[in-house]
Amino acid sequence: MSSDQFQTGRLTQFRELLERSDAALVLTAMAAFYLLFLGIGAILNYDVAGLISILGQVTFFTAVYALIVLALNLHWGYAGLFNIGIAGFMAVGVYTMAMLTAPPTGSPPGLGLPVAVGIVGGMLAAALVGLVTALPALRLRADYLAIVTVAISEIIRLTYNSPAFSTFTLPGGIALGTGGASGIGTVPSNPVQAIYYVDPSSAASGTTPIGAAIFGFFEAVFGVVRSAVIVDLTYGLVLAVVVFLVYTLLARVGNSPFGRVLKAIREDEVVAKSLGKDTNRFKIKTFMLGCALMGLAGVLWQGFGTGAVYPQAFRPELTFYIFIAVIIGGAGSNTGSVLGGAVFANLLFLLPQYLPNIIEQTFSIQADPNNFIAAVGPIAAGEIAPLLGYILNQRLPALRFVFVGVLLVYLMQNRPEGLLGHRTETAAAVNLSEGHTAAEQTGSDLTAPEGGVDDE
C-alpha cells in the first residue's frame, strides 16, 4: 500500500468517524477554530497571555451561542414555535439575576441574595414571562406568536431602559432598580473566580490553594501569565460543560414521547390533536423550558460573562444572530445547533473583529477616509487602499452583516437545510428498528403477509 492510499484510507476513516460520532464532529470543529484563532493571534504578534485570552474568547462565545441556539432549536426546530423575542427572554433572565443578587447598598440597589438564587430566579422569571407571552398567542395561529414575541422583547428592553424603574421601592420598603439606560454594574463576579481567589469579587484578595497551583503551573510553563486570562478560560470551559448538560437534557426531550409530539405539532398540529394530544400544553411547556434556557444563557453570557447588564445589549439584532446560527446548523438537530452556534460565534462574530487588524497588518493599509466619496474616489486613479481602509475602519459592523448575507445566500443555494438539518433524529426513547425481529419472533396472530414484504 502506497502512503498515498494509506492517507486516503485514513481520510475516509476520519470522515466516517465524523459522520458517526457527534462528539468527534464538534471537537474537530472546535480544534479547527482554536487553530484558526491561534493563527490570528500569531499574525498579530500576541504573547502567551494574549493567545490564552483569544482561546478563552473562542470558548466563551462558542459556548454562549451554542447554549442559546440550543434553546431556540427547542422552540423552532422541534416544535415550530417561531420565537423572535429571544433577546427579551435573555434580558429577563440576566436582569432578574442581577436584581436578586446586587448588593442592597449598591446603585441601583438589589436584594443581595446568593448567586445560585439569582441564576434559578433568572431562569424562572424568563419561563414565567414565556408563559404569559405564550398563553394568549399559542391559541391563535402560529404567526401570532412571532408578532407577540417580538413585541414583548422590545417592551422588555424599553422597560429596563426606562428611567421610571431606574430605582424603585417595593411595597415592603425594599429598594430595587434596573439602573435605567446605564443598567446594573454590580453584577456578581463570575462564579469560577471562587476557585481562584479568596474573595471571589476581588483578584487582589489573594489566591486560593487551587488558584495558586494553577497560576503556578502556567507561570512555570509559559512564563508569567495574567491571572484574569486563566480565569476567563476556565469560565469558558465551565460553560462548555453547561452546554454539554443542556445538550443532554434536550437530546432526552427529543428522544422521547414528549419530543415526538413536538415533532408532530411542527408537522401538522391538527393531526397531533386528532391523535389525542393536547397540543397547547405541549407547546406551553416547551416554550417555558426554552425561555428558561434563554434566561440561563442571558445570565451566563451578559451577566457573568461581561460583568455588567445594560439594555442596549438586548437589541433585536441579537435575536437575528441566533436565528442565523440555527439556520447554519440546521433546525431540528441539537448537534447542528452547537455547530451552528460555533460557526456563528467564531466566523461571523469574532472573526470580523480581528479581520480589520489582520488586513491592516498584512497589507499595511494606513488610509482612513471618513466618508464614502473619499473612499471610492481614488479607485479611478487605481487606488484601492482608501476603500479598504474605509470599509475596515468605518464599517466594521456592516462587514459582519455582509458576511452573514453571503453565508446565507450560499446556504440557501447549496445547503438549505443547514449543516445537519438533513439529519433525521428519531423521536423515541428506544431504537424503533429493533422491534421488527421481536415482533416476528413472537409471531403476530394478526399478520398474514402475502410474503415478500419482509425487510432484508
Partner: protein, 281 residues
Amino acid sequence: MSSESAVDGVGEDSAAINAAGDSGEEPPLRVENLRKEFGGITAVDGASFEVADGSLTGLIGPNGAGKSTTFNCITGVQEPTGGAVYFNGSDIAGRAPNAIVNRGLVRTFQIARELAEMTVLENLMLAPQRQQGEALYRSVLPPFRDGVIEEETELREAVWESLEFFEIDHLAEEQAGNLSGGQRKLLELARALMTDPDMLLLDEPFAGVNPTLEAKLLDRINQLRAEEGLTFLLVEHDMDIIMEHCDPVIVMHQGHVLAEGRPGEIRNNERVVDAYFGEQR
C-alpha cells in the same frame, strides 16, 4: 356539484326514520340537527342521525354533500355552527379534537394527513393515548426514564405488528412523506387504530388501496367489531363495498340526511336514486 333534484320535506322524513330506529338504548354516536356554515355556503344543513353500537354504518352521498364536514364537526376539527353531537351520551360538539379522541372517538382524513417528516414508525408511535413519556419530567428525569423506555418497548412491538398487518412494514423507516397515496391511507388507518378507540370515523379509507388489501382491511374491521365491539362510520363512494358490508346506510345530500336504512332499501329509494345513483350512472 350537487344535484338539483332536492325534495322538500326531507327533514321530516329522516326524523321519522330516526324515531323508528330508536331502541331506547343510547347509541355511541348521535348527531342532532348539525349545522355548519362557511360564509354563505351551508355545508351541513341540519343533519341528524345515529350510529348503532358495533355497527359498520355507511355514509354516502354525492360530492359536496357535506360528509367530510360532518366528520370535521363531530371530531372537533371544525366547530359546528349549530346542533349537538353526543358520543356515549355526552355532548361533544365544539370540544377540542384531542378531548374527543381521549374519549375514544377517532377519525381518518379523506386526504391522508401523514406527518411527512416523521418516519412511518414515528407516525404510529405517536398514536397511543396517555403515554407516560408525554409528561416532560418523565421523559427527562432519570428515575422515570426507565418506565418510559419500558413502555416504548411495548408500544414498539404493537406498532410493528400493525405495520405488518397493513403490509407497510418494509416502509417502517421511511419518511411518511415518501409513501404512495394508497400507502398513506393505510398508514392513516393503522395510526387511528393505534389510538385504541371505541369508534372510528373513516373518510374514504380504501381510496387507492389495492383490492386484496381492501378485502383484508374489511375483514379486520369486521373482526374488531365482533371481538372488541368497535363501531365504525364509513364514508365510501364504492357502492359494492357499501352494499356488501355496511348496514345501515345513511345518505346525505346537500347537507342533510336524505335517507337511512338497510342497503337494499337505500338502493331502491327513489330520492336516493335521483340524487345519487342517478348521478353516478
